[in-house]
Structure formats: structure tokens, C-alpha cells
């Protein structure tokens, strides 16, 4: 009977099933734990642009407290942030600098496009100096519409981002 068990096909099957069992035991909880840590400590880069920065400031205030989600505006360097909220209009002069800021952030990083100007150019679509949306420069994860979006909308956008991170595989 031992000879039956230890022939090649059966052995492969047994190892395969053991691998599955090990993955279910360790990989998924580990991934869940790592994602849990990432979700509840998204630190945004301080990149205030034109108008939407006012609502972002209000969102960090005591009424729409975004710090309870772990989103603290880290006044330190941008080398320790993992979220960039592009608030408002990006002009042609600012676009290379936005890319430089994005490149300097460590992986994994996420981008939220806040406001109509960051999504498609918004009210300033026919201005000579405004980019029609930031899709061409940085890959965007969540779009938050509004002009400017209310702080509650921004918080809902952050929660959508959290859902997206929960479902992603750890890299």
C-alpha cells in the first residue's frame, strides 16, 4: 500500500494539496494583515493646488475629521507618503513637477484625482494653460467628482480606495 501512495502521480497530488492547504493557512491572513496596515494609514502628500485645497483643509478639520481613517497630512517629506491627492487644476507649468513628486514616492502608491479639474479639466477646459485631466501623467485609482467636492465626498472616495486596496494582491 505504501508503494501505491508514493508513486509519482499520487505524490504530486499530495504535494499539490499540501501547498493549497499551506496557502490558505498563511498567505491569505498575511495578505489581509498587510493590507489592513496599508488601509488604515494612508498618508497623503501635501500638494495643495488651486481651489480644492480648501475642502481638503476642511476635511482635516475637527468636523469632517479624516484623521480617524488614518489619513494624516504628514508634514515631513514625501518620501514616506503613499497617497497623493491631486487637488484641483494642474497647469502645463506644474505637470512635470507633479510627475517628479509622484516618482519620488515609494511603492505602493495610490492616486486620487479630486475635483472636476483633475478629472477632465473641468471649468477650465478651454484655457490655454490647463491640462485636460491628469490621466496622461499619473495613473489614477479613484476619481472624486465635484467642484469642489464636499468633504464627505472626499471621505467616500478614500473609503472606495480602501475597498480597492483590500481586494488587491500584495505586491
Amino acid at each position: 500500500m505504501l508503494k501505491d501512495l508514493v508513486n509519482p502521480t499520487n505524490f504530486n497530488l499530495m504535494v499539490g494539496k499540501l501547498g493549497d492547504v499551506l496557502i490558505k493557512a498563511f498567505d491569505m491572513p498575511l495578505g489581509y494583515a498587510i493590507n489592513w496596515g496599508r488601509i488604515w494609514s494612508l498618508w497623503p502628500v501635501h500638494l495643495e493646488t488651486a481651489c480644492c485645497s480648501v475642502e481638503f483643509g476642511a476635511a482635516s478639520g475637527p468636523r469632517y475629521d479624516v484623521e480617524r481613517f488614518g489619513i494624516i497630512e504628514a508634514f515631513g517629506s514625501l518620501r514616506q507618503c503613499d497617497l497623493i491627492v491631486v487637488q484641483g487644476t494642474v497647469t502645463r507649468k506644474m505637470a512635470p513637477r507633479l510627475r517628479m513628486v509622484y516618482d519620488q514616492m515609494p511603492e505602493p502608491k495610490y492616486v486620487i484625482a479630486m475635483g472636476a479639474c483633475a478629472i477632465t479639466g473641468g471649468l477650465y477646459i478651454d484655457s490655454y494653460n490647463v491640462l485636460p485631466g491628469i490621466d496622461g501623467i499619473v495613473p489614477v485609482d479613484v476619481y472624486v467628482p465635484g467642484c469642489p467636492p464636499r468633504p464627505e465626498t472626499l471621505i467616500q472616495g478614500c473609503m472606495l480606495l480602501q475597498e480597492k486596496i483590500k481586494r488587491s494582491k500584495i505586491r
Binding site: 497647469t91 502645463r92 507649468k93 490655454y128 494653460n129
Partner: protein, 209 residues
Amino acid sequence: MTSKDVPTERSNGELINNQGTSIDSKTVDESSNKVKDVGNAQSSISTRESGALSTKPEQDIINKIVARYGNNVEVLYVRPSRMKIRVLPENMISIAGFIKENFGFDHAESVSGTDYPKDNQIEVVYHIGSYTVEELIPKILALSTRTNRDEPRLPSLISIFPSVEYHERETYEMIGAYFEGHPRMERFLLPEDWADIPPLRKDFRIKGR
């Protein structure tokens, strides 16, 4: 002068100076007729703003300027708290020095350039105000000049009013007028790689419109 509420300097679309003769300088042309004065109908609105109907102090100032410079100055309008005169580019610096010393105007609020492609000219207007002389604080004197559109060169007023430094740089890049004597005539607000014509010219069309 007449005893009308808001004496205008315009009648039948012709430009006249205080002596009553029409000026025949090179800057008179048809487009200036478009900048007509809506003075008479406005006295009701002006009362609630400044509380003074008469324009005697403004008229005094204008009289003194015209007495000194005669035909070189064209008075466009005299309204409550607002006066506008037009001079030739060559006389700008001396007239600016005159109003600074004699009346006490000491800073420029804004410098704006306008493009008139139909007359092939560019107009630059300096709005000049005062912080020191009590009677002049609410008033603004608009000093304007016109120059050729293809080769717009003007003297810079930075030696007389140092507050025009950044305004002239912005006017240079937006409309193309070059101010001679300015220490740093470069682009200011536009991107570094701007390779198009100055944006506020009328032949620069926004995309799609």
C-alpha cells in the same frame, strides 16, 4: 467750465481738450471714439458711491496738467474719482514725474495692456493712486499711451513708480509690449517652454472657440 453735473470732454464723438480745440495728434483714431463716456447717465449710481456729485478737484488736477503740457496731453474723461489722460510714449516719463512731484501720486495699482488689432495699436494703461495726500486717496488717475502693434516699445516707469516692476513684466508676456529701462524683462507667469504669441492678443484663439 460748464456747470453740468459730470462734465464730459466729449461731444459728437470728437476729442477735445480743455481749450476747446480738437487735438490732431497721431494717437487719435476711430477706435478711441468707441471708448465713449457714459458719464451723464451715471450720476445716480455715482452718488451712492462717493457721495460727491461735483468733479471740481479732478478738474483742477486735469487743468494743471494741461496747462503745463498743452497739446501733448489728451483728456479722455473726468468722472467722480476717476480721470484718464492719454499721452505719447515719448512724454510718459516726464508726465509721470510731474504728477508724482506736484500732486503726490505715489504708487501704481495696476498696469494693463489691451490689443486693438483694427487700428494696429496696443494701449497700455497705468492706474495710479495715492496713499499720502488726503484729498487724493480715493482718486485714481489712469495714464494711458498707445503704441504700434508690430513694434511695441515703451519707456518703463520703474524709476518713478517702483511698484510697477512685476506688472510690467506680466504685461510684456501677455501682450508683447517691451518696456525699455526695466532691469528684467522676462516671462513671469507663463510656462518656461511657451513658444506661442502672447496670449492676450486678439489673434490668439482659445481652442474650440
